[in-house]
């Protein structure tokens, strides 16, 4: 692929431009509109974008277990996300969002965050079920509707989104990332779970944490020592949001206005 790019005079740091343009074409042609393009075109462009994007991400020849799982989960997420925004039927779109969340949960687990995986699944499962009830209640069951079969400015909005993506990809080449404290060991167990302030307060760990099985314990310790005020603020926010949503949906009488 670098040969192909080089023939166009594009440098080595720009190898993401082909999948980006292909994905833009795919999303633009697949967005719902009154007279749609044949879906084969968009599907072809999407497949080529996926393949070239995967080749851009997975450069090394040797594919280990983690790389395989990463490719599987992120592939599920990205395909389901594209399907969600191009899907006419809102029920199918909500189901695709479930797949996006599940793929992201797999990526969380791969990153050594099992508690976050469980929390995301539980919270989003509840949210999705409620949304699902709303969709089934409100969506137009038969025929076509302006809400589902039209897009607002499909070219401009997909251009805006993919321009942002291109800017991000341009800004994060691997050479510009900060040389972090990450050890060559993919899961630096000895430092995991120890927040920088807990040692000041004498809350040091008496032994090295086992990872990632004890992730929840150390997450809880970090939450309720270093981030206690934030936890209280989050609880207050949830309470206020509950009261607010009750107020918004309450049917007021005319006399009270």
């Amino acid at each position: 692929m670098s040969l192909l790019l080089g023939s166009f005079g594009i440098g080595a740091g720009w190898s993401w431009i082909i999948p980006l343009v292909l994905a833009f074409a795919a999303v633009y042609t697949l967005l719902p509109r009154p007279r749609p393009y044949p879906p084969v075109l968009g599907g072809l462009a999407a497949g080529c974008a996926l393949l070239s994007g995967g080749a851009f991400l997975i450069r090394t020849g040797a594919v280990d277990k983690e790389m395989f799982l990463f490719a599987a989960f992120s592939g599920i997420s990205v395909i389901a996300a594209a399907n969600m925004i191009t899907q006419k039927n809102p029920v199918h779109a909500a189901l695709s969002f479930v797949l996006v969340v599940l793929g992201t949960c797999g990526l969380f687990l791969l990153q050594g965050a099992p508690f976050l995986m469980a929390a995301t699944m539980i919270v989003y499962a509840g949210a999705i079920i409620v949304t699902f009830a709303f969709v089934i209640m409100m969506a137009k069951q038969h025929g076509r509707s302006d809400a589902d079969d039209r897009s607002r400015e499909p070219f401009l909005s997909s251009a805006a989104g993919f321009f942002l993506l291109g800017a991000i990809l341009y800004a994060i080449p691997e050479t510009s990332l900060p040389a972090g404290t990450g050890a060559p060991d993919p899961l630096p167990a000895h430092r995991w779970g120890v927040s920088p302030y807990s040692q000041i307060r004498g809350a040091t760990l008496d032994r090295a944490p086992d990872l990632p099985a004890e992730n929840a314990a150390y997450l809880g310790r970090a939450l309720f020592t270093d981030y206690l005020v934030s936890v209280e603020l989050g609880g207050t926010l949830l309470l206020v949001a509950t009261i607010g949503s009750i107020l918004i949906t309450a049917r007021r009488r005319e006399a009270n206005r």
Binding site: L31, R35, L57, M67, F70, S74, S77, V78, A81, M84, I85, P90, A93, F97, T104, Q111, G112, A113, F115, L116, A119, T120, V123, A127, V130, T131, A139, G143, R144, D146, A147, R150, S151, R152, E153, L156, S157, S158, G161, L165, I168, I172, G180, G182, A183, P186, W192, G193, V194, S195, Y218, L219, L223, S230, L238, V240, S245, I246, I248, T249
Partner: protein
């Protein structure tokens, strides 16, 4: 795979989710779908935070992601309440019906092309009755 490569991969996937959510939010007109797209953008950000948490070997990113989940729950409640109210007023989920509250001086957006007619509903086929109806045995009391 060095940790730097891994971090870069996760950042790219997070950016893709964020951008796709943004495209969906800008382009779709169904209010519930717009809300789901904003949730997807939050997923991309959470992925970034967790990747940095692992890269730096501490838990700050994961704690931040927990707060994102809490804020997303608040947002879901408020957004669904608002969508419900808006639906009750206009009887439709189309967000373009609310363009009368746009900026002063902006021209309204009109839908150009009409939607194609919905396909004809397929009725059930009429079957020609055939054969002979067997005579029913009559009960003795009613004969």
């Amino acid at each position: 795979m060095t940790p730097l490569n891994l971090l870069h991969n996760y950042l790219v996937v997070g950016a893709i989710l964020f951008a796709l959510g943004m495209v969906g939010f800008l382009a779709r007109r169904n209010m519930i779908l717009m809300f789901l797209c904003s949730e997807m953008m939050l997923q991309g950000v959470a992925l970034n935070l967790v990747a940095f948490s692992r890269y730096h070997g501490n838990l700050q990113g994961q704690v931040f992601t927990l707060f994102i989940i809490a804020v997303a729950a608040c947002e879901a409640g408020l957004a669904l309440a608002l969508v419900f109210m808006l639906y009750r007023t206009r009887k439709s989920l189309d967000v373009s019906l609310w363009q009368d509250i746009r900026e002063v001086g902006e021209p309204p957006i009109a839908d150009g092309e009409p939607l194609p007619a919905p396909p004809e509903p397929q009725g059930f086929p009429h079957l020609i009755p055939s054969g002979r109806e067997p005579s029913k045995p009559q009960e003795a009391g009613h004969a």
